[in-house]
């Protein structure tokens, strides 16, 4: 099937590009690691002595959230790479070939997902000496959840980038989404601590469910409502963003 071959070709190309320029991949892991090393220890006494935290110790509260943050924001910013290629005439050149339009999106998004998974595994492993303890099954489900989220965000990022077609338009939109989403997802501190109005506000943010679900699976609650809701939200996000991305690539001219 041409779509699969083409996706694989684009995936390989994107992967080679990342391997030649690992700078951004490394930066991507440094930020959550800094949170882990420099913010994590601050949480330990707070979690122990403050009511209102979800179950688990500091690491079980923080690490899942950092993984979701990695997936969310790692995915959100990939659009810049495609804008650079757009400016260099690469996308236009590819569009004149018979290559599948869907592959142009999926090949790249899949590469981003693989890179994200590697970063996520690395972060999880690094968290163990700090004190993270979590069941393997839960960690695997959590990683898959984060991968699905990252894939969805990458598709969204590429779709948005190809619709606005300029870094000047793309950057403000991404920045405008970034901070409210971060603050309303319960990543830094869980929203179970929030006053009612803030808690209610966070309920419209789909990512908060994914954060809650990742925390739940890291504790081993794989079949709990929280986990299932989060998984469902991530899947819906993925489906919606893939549709949006595919439509954009099939419709917009280079």
């Amino acid at each position: 099937m041409s779509v699969l071959t083409d996706t694989w070709l684009i995936f390989q190309r994107s992967m080679r590009q990342s391997l030649r320029n690992p700078f951004w991949v490394i930066i991507g892991i440094v930020q959550p690691f800094l949170y882990l090393a420099l913010f994590g220890p601050l949480l330990i006494p707070i979690v122990q002595s403050t009511p209102g935290f979800p179950p688990g110790d500091a690491w079980q509260v923080l690490v899942p959230a950092l993984l979701v943050q990695l997936g969310l924001f790692g995915g959100l910013f990939v659009g810049f790479a495609i804008l650079a290629e757009f400016r260099a005439g690469v996308i236009e050149r590819m569009r004149v070939t018979p290559v599948s339009r869907v592959a142009l999106l999926l090949g790249r998004a899949l590469k981003d997902t693989v890179v994200l998974l590697i970063q996520a595994v690395l972060l999880t492993v690094l968290a163990v000496p700090f004190g993270l303890r979590a069941p393997i099954g839960g960690v695997l489900v959590g990683l898959i959840l984060v991968a699905v989220l990252g894939f969805a965000m990458a598709c969204a990022s590429y779709a948005l980038a190809m619709q606005v077609k300029s870094e000047e338009a793309f950057l403000p939109i991404v920045q405008a989404v970034f901070l409210p989403v971060l603050l309303l997802s319960g990543i830094l501190l869980p929203l179970s601590l929030a006053p009612l109005w803030l808690f209610n506000l966070s309920r419209v943010n789909p990512f908060v469910y994914v954060v809650d679900a990742t925390r739940a699976v890291f504790l081993g609650d794989l079949a709990s409502t929280t986990a299932l809701v989060g998984i469902a939200v991530a899947l819906v996000l993925a489906v919606v963003t893939v549709f949006w991305g595919v439509r954009t690539f099939q419709r917009e001219s280079a």
């Binding site: 650079a84 005439g89 001219s253």
Partner: protein, 328 residues
């Protein structure tokens, strides 16, 4: 190879509707090297991008490489090669990788693509660049790489959008040689756009002159020059007024102007008229200090056809917007 009727494209921008191309008819037969000449903003790139299926025409029909533009864009894409204005090789990719991948997009096997890439690297003088990163290549090398990518699948029809823009004179001349040999050795039909008069003149069998979205003149370079103004003859002489009088009586002469120490005038065939003129000047005992016959340039053609010089025509126009709308 190309048959287009009434191709048109309008864009909706924030400033209103822009009619980039207002109805263009094009006929290109197999094996021709046709140039699309016009100032920036004339609609050349838009027309090219319609013909290469990058954007959908808002009106008109076309058949490209045997496939209908509106219903079988995929068929066209399998047949044509395209070299865009801004290149197309990933700046951070390896030369050989981009070539092989391009071949694979057209269904070539990995092995066949690698063989083909090696052939093209040799043909287009890129030996030694195979394992280099694209953005370390010189401008001329990058253009040749773009052309190589367009040729991977042996297209019978190639589109080149402003191929030598931004190149230094030596690279331009070199590129022209490669384009000419492509055409000569493989019989590839070539359709290129340019705003360089010398490029159109040097390369093309036939030129279509486009201005503000319409084709305003068409023909071989010589036909166009002959049709419009004729040759410019410049005579430096001691008695310009008398020379001017004689020149005015030459058959077919026009625009006789006394210009300082000389006279200039236009005549259909300067070379033929010159011997007779010199004999007359001699007989009238007028001393001639210099004589020059200038063949008209395409700038003259453009001026005669549109009323503006090419340079005047290149005033900032509304550029084609980035968000160009629906495609297939």
């Amino acid at each position: 190879m190309i048959h287009a009727r009434g191709l048109a494209r309008t864009f909706k921008t924030r400033r209103g509707t822009v009619e980039a191309v207002t109805g263009v008819d094009i006929d290109v037969s197999a094996g021709e090297l046709v140039g699309f000449l016009g100032p920036n903003g004339a609609g050349k790139s838009t027309t090219l991008r319609m013909l290469t299926t990058l954007i959908v025409p808002t009106a008109g029909t076309a058949t490209v490489a045997g496939h209908d533009l509106l219903t079988d864009a995929a068929g066209i894409r399998r047949q044509i090669g395209y070299v865009g204005q801004s290149g197309g090789a990933g700046p951070d990719c390896i030369v050989a990788d981009e070539l092989v991948l391009q071949g694979r997009f057209y269904g070539l096997t990995s092995a066949r693509a690698r063989t083909r890439a090696t052939e093209l690297i040799e043909q287009l003088d890129l030996v030694g660049t195979e394992n280099r990163v694209v953005n370390t290549l010189s401008g001329g090398q990058r253009r040749r790489l773009d052309i190589a990518m367009g040729l991977m699948h042996l297209p019978t029809l190639m589109f080149l959008d402003e191929p030598s823009t931004g190149l230094d004179p030596q690279s331009r001349a070199n590129l022209w040689d490669h384009i000419r040999s492509l055409h000569a050795e493989h019989g590839t039909t070539l359709f290129l756009t340019t705003h360089y008069l010398d490029e159109a003149d040097a390369l093309c069998d036939r030129i279509l002159v486009i201005d503000t979205g319409r084709i305003v003149a068409e023909g071989t370079p010589d036909e166009l020059k002959r049709r419009v103004s004729g040759d410019l003859v410049l005579v430096g002489a001691g008695e310009p007024a008398r020379v001017a009088e004689l020149a005015a009586h030459l058959p077919g002469s026009s625009d006789v102007v006394v210009d300082g120490a000389g006279v200039r005038f236009r005549v259909p065939d300067g070379a033929k008229v010159l011997p007779a003129l010199m004999r007359e000047l001699d007989a009238a005992d007028i001393a001639m200090t210099s004589v020059e016959v200038r063949r008209p340039s395409l700038d003259d053609v453009f001026l005669a056809v549109t009323g503006r010089t090419l340079r005047d025509a290149e005033t900032p126009t509304t550029p084609e917007p980035a968000t160009a709308g629906a495609s297939r």
